[in-house]
Symmetry: C2
Subunit: 136 residues, 2 copies
């Protein structure tokens, strides 16, 4: 089954507002859908997957513009392979940097947690030290 749905149902299912979906469409994040005779938007389940991706990526700190760029990568499967590859590698590198920074922050937080259990001494500001080295 194709599982067609209206904007309101898709929105509710994904925990966003219908207005947000229209906004994403306007911003080019989701393609303009086909419409009913009355002009109502009609969504298939690919729309749900796409929307889900957008929300998760956002939670990871990507801007809508960056997300559009990521989605573009998979939308144009073989278009200008060289460029796609370049962007992809850049994104991968960005992600690796983020992960490293997050791991450092995590270690700092674990130190704080440990210290707060009474085991640590006055070792000061592990969190500030966390992202202290090397420039982005």
């Amino acid at each position: 089954m194709e599982n067609l749905t209206t904007i309101g149902k898709l929105a509710k299912a994904q925990g966003v507002r219908a207005a947000t979906l229209r906004y994403y469409e306007q911003m080019g994040l989701v393609p303009a859908t086909r419409r009913t005779a009355a002009g109502y938007r009609v969504y298939g389940e690919d729309a749900a997957r796409r929307l889900h991706f957008i929300r998760r990526a956002q939670a990871l700190g990507f801007s809508l513009e960056e997300i559009a760029e990521l989605l573009n990568l998979s939308d144009r499967p073989h278009a200008s392979a060289g460029e796609v590859k370049k962007i992809t590698r850049r994104k991968i590198a960005e992600i690796e940097t983020r992960v490293r920074d997050l791991e450092r922050m995590k270690r700092a937080l674990m130190q704080i947690e440990h210290r707060c259990s009474g085991h640590g001494s006055t070792a000061k500001c592990p969190i500030l030290a966390a992202l202290g080295e090397d420039r982005s």
Copy 2:
């Protein structure tokens, strides 16, 4: 040496604007500094470390409010250990989720990169599949 400096120098050194530093002070992200007789702000190097942390944390997608919360953890070393511990654990869990999501996104990008080298077939939309499972 204590390495005291003015707002302009600190700002330039960290690649932000002086106005941004004033804004952070206003928002409570950096404590109000002492001033010269003329009312000029005077910064020590702790300010530089703090600022550096703020910028990196921002790049990781934390809001200023969240960053303030993180900084508070290290500012009040032993204040209400129970609460600090709770917040710390929550932040650690959040970070772990983020890292997992980023790793998934990275794997998807690597598939795209691979596919674009001509090795892959029409395996479609690895990026959409990337964050497709389990809810945040």
